[in-house]
């Protein structure tokens, strides 16, 4: 009976994994142009998704498009397309993968899952907003980097008009969460708090939730790598991050592990 059971379990597992594989067919990831167009936080999110799919060993074809913002049903980037399914944003894509039982956090307990959600919330609610603030509301960054990058996919006069309209839209968005009136100092303080929290939680572990990678690691890596490698007129954010050497070392390690092998 025991031998028969294991054969049955084996068959079921095989059927399930085949189910996932056959459903994970010809996935395409739409992103903005990394070299000339993507803003700091957009690059961070796109990299986070690509890292996550690598960690979960799910193949995906990345397609860079100038109008990804409009291809996305909500404006969030990147956008995953598989057959008739279109999912925007890191959170949505992670949910889709979890539903197909290919997620990375099934080994965690409920308490750990809640903890992981809290860490991801720090990145989503603080770090990403810091990045958006610097990109759109910091005058020097906007005029020297953001507006050129946003207008790079358009011809004149749209290349001059559209960044202005987008900045107005982002200011409105930041206003609804009360970030529009913060100063750069306030925003850097919030960033520092976020880094400290993440650094503390990482401690001396290999990954955020222990010794195995989870979705939170993909998200954290995406944002850390983006901050460390993007050159902006103000290097305050990058400098604030470098005060936490375990985070910098973590980013280098994940890069070596998943992108250089």
């Amino acid at each position: 009976m025991a031998a028969g059971d294991s054969v049955l379990i084996g068959l079921v597992e095989e059927a399930l994994s085949m189910h996932v594989d056959s459903e994970w067919h010809e996935a395409k990831l739409y992103t903005p142009f990394f070299k000339d167009q993507a803003q700091l936080y957009e690059f961070a999110d796109c990299l986070a998704v690509q890292t996550f799919l690598r960690m979960a060993q799910l193949p995906v074809q990345t397609k860079q498009r100038p109008n990804t913002e409009f291809i996305s049903p909500t404006g969030e980037m990147p956008v995953l397309q598989m057959g008739s399914i279109l999912i925007p944003g890191f959170t949505g894509i992670v949910d889709l993968v979890r539903k197909k039982d290919a997620g990375l956090s099934s080994h965690l307990t409920d308490v750990q899952k809640a903890d992981m959600a809290a860490q991801m919330a720090v990145i989503d609610n603080i770090l990403r907003r810091v990045e958006m603030y610097i990109v759109w509301l910091h005058d020097e960054t906007y005029s020297r980097v953001t507006s050129t990058r946003f207008g790079s996919v358009y011809k004149w006069p749209l290349s001059s008009v559209l960044p202005v309209l987008k900045r107005r839209e982002m200011r409105e968005k930041m206003n609804t969460i009360d970030w529009a009136n913060k100063t750069l100092v306030d925003v850097m303080e919030a960033a520092d708090k976020a880094f400290r929290c993440l650094s503390c939680h990482l401690g001396t572990q290999d990954y955020l939730m222990g010794s195995r990678v989870t979705e939170a690691d993909a998200l954290l890596f995406g944002h850390l790598f983006a901050i460390l490698t993007t050159r902006l007129p103000t290097m305050e954010l990058s400098n604030a991050l470098r005060k936490y050497p375990n985070l910098v070392e973590y980013a280098e390690r994940v890069e070596n592990e998943y992108f250089k092998k």
Partner: protein, 442 residues
């Protein structure tokens, strides 16, 4: 004809046809041209209009030229009403021409309820100012919205180029519109600037139009849009120049009973790398109508359009060829003929269509008609490698009969029962009664 009057005596004027054709050898010299009823029209504009009168050498020519001048003043919009009165002058063979005119109302305001070309009820408000600078210019602003939520706002300025028997003018308009496109289930916002020039030759039978367009379009996909439509969503700028020549001898453009129309036009977009859209469009329209036996008359029309991308990218959705609708291939949903993906139409690169109608006037004879028609057309895909084969293979044919109502040369309404003789499986065609409204019908 006229009588010279002394002081204090009443003048009596007679209709010119009393003299017409009888005064070729009566020499005339125009001494003065006077205008009565002018308040804001500028002197140099009037001079341009009547300068030719001074060249009239005999009375017959004078009478004819005065009539042409008065009619021209009305046709170019310089005057609402103009009548010429020829009076004798004291000198030998001398005549004085008096124009009694009524200038156009300087300001008009209106609101109307009507029908859009897609068959939705719409309401529009407009304000116009005539003869802004005293030379027949018209400035107008209008706002239209339909029951479906489409709206548009337009400000335009037009100016006739005055001169003897000259029918040409320049116009410019600035507009902003928002509309839902049912054929690909997406929304379109457009901001556009158009500059135009038109000219008539050969006794107003040949019309030339030249236009420069700068249009900023934003295509926004909706939840129901197919992915092939989403891929084209976003902002694009079209900067183009187009020209069109038409030869028109139809008796009534909105529903011709006899005459011919031949129209040829081209548009070049994206020249010198300006703007995102880069293409060349060629378009040919031919219409002919002739009376048959009894009161019946036959009308046939042909339409061909070819758009080729000039840049590195494929033609954008908004620049492609579409067919279908109650004003060309009746029975098919608006713009639904073309490459079809997921019940959306993404258009094509080349299209041809033709229709033959048999009309019979009902009562009242110039407004209501019964008609039967056969319409056929096809659109070849943007990526087609063999145009002729694709056009022939994807042909659609619809037949039907119904009634057409023409309202004062402004609007044409149709109610038809339509049946498809040939269509593809994925087409959006519904057999039965269809209602159409508009101005240009095939």
């Amino acid at each position: 004809s006229m009588e010279g009057g002394g002081y204090g005596r009443q003048k009596h004027f007679h209709r010119a046809d009393l003299l017409h054709g009888k005064c070729e050898d009566a020499p005339s010299i125009v001494e003065a041209v006077q205008f009565h009823g002018v308040r804001i029209t500028k002197g140099d504009a009037l001079l341009q209009e009547v300068a030719e009168l001074y060249k009239s050498s005999n009375v017959d020519e004078l009478v004819k030229n005065c009539h042409l001048a008065a009619r021209h003043l009305q046709e170019v919009g310089l005057m609402d009403n103009a009548a010429a009165l020829i009076d004798t002058a004291p000198s030998k063979n001398g005549y004085i021409v008096n124009f009694v005119v009524r200038e156009p109302k300087s300001f008009t305001l209106g609101a109307k309820v009507g029908m859009s070309t897609q068959g939705d009820a719409d309401m529009s408000m407009h304000a116009a100012r005539h003869s802004v600078n005293g030379r027949g210019e018209v400035a107008d602003a209008s706002y239209t919205y339909t029951v479906k939520g489409d709206h548009s706002f337009n400000v335009s300025l037009s100016k006739p180029l005055l001169g003897w028997q000259r029918y040409s003018g320049i116009a410019s308009s600035l507009s902003r519109s928002f509309a839902y496109l049912p054929w690909n289930k997406s929304n379109l916002e457009e901001n556009s600037l158009v500059l135009g020039y038109h000219n008539n030759f050969w006794g107003r039978k040949l019309l030339q139009q030249i236009r420069l367009n700068a249009i900023w379009r934003t295509l926004l996909a909706t939840k129901e849009s197919a992915f092939a439509v989403r891929e084209h969503a976003g902002h694009t700028l079209k900067v183009s120049a187009e020209h069109e020549y038409s030869f028109d001898t139809r008796d009534r453009p909105i529903l011709a009973t006899k005459g011919v129309l031949a129209k040829f036009g081209q548009e070049l977009a994206g020249a010198f790398g300006i703007g995102d859209a880069a293409f060349v469009r060629h378009q040919l329209d031919i219409q002919a109508a002739a009376p048959l036996f009894s009161k019946f008359f036959l009308a046939a029309s042909f339409h061909a359009k070819r758009i080729e991308s000039m840049g590195q990218n494929e033609l954008h959705l908004l620049d492609r060829v579409y067919l279908g609708g109650q004003s060309d291939l009746r029975g098919f949903a608006l713009n639904s003929i073309g490459t079809r993906i997921d019940s959306s139409c993404v258009g094509g690169g080349c299209g041809v269509a033709g229709a033959v109608h048999l009309y019979r006037p009902l009562f009242p004879a110039d407004s209501l008609f019964a008609h039967a028609f056969v319409a056929s057309g096809s659109v070849a895909s943007v990526r087609s490698r063999n145009l002729m084969r694709d056009l022939v293979e994807s042909q659609r044919v619809s037949v039907g009969a119904g009634v057409t109502f023409v309202f004062k040369n402004i609007l044409r309404l149709e109610l038809n029962y339509v049946h498809a003789l040939k269509k593809t499986a994925s087409d959006s065609f519904s057999r039965g009664l269809h209602f159409g409204a508009g101005i240009n019908f095939m």
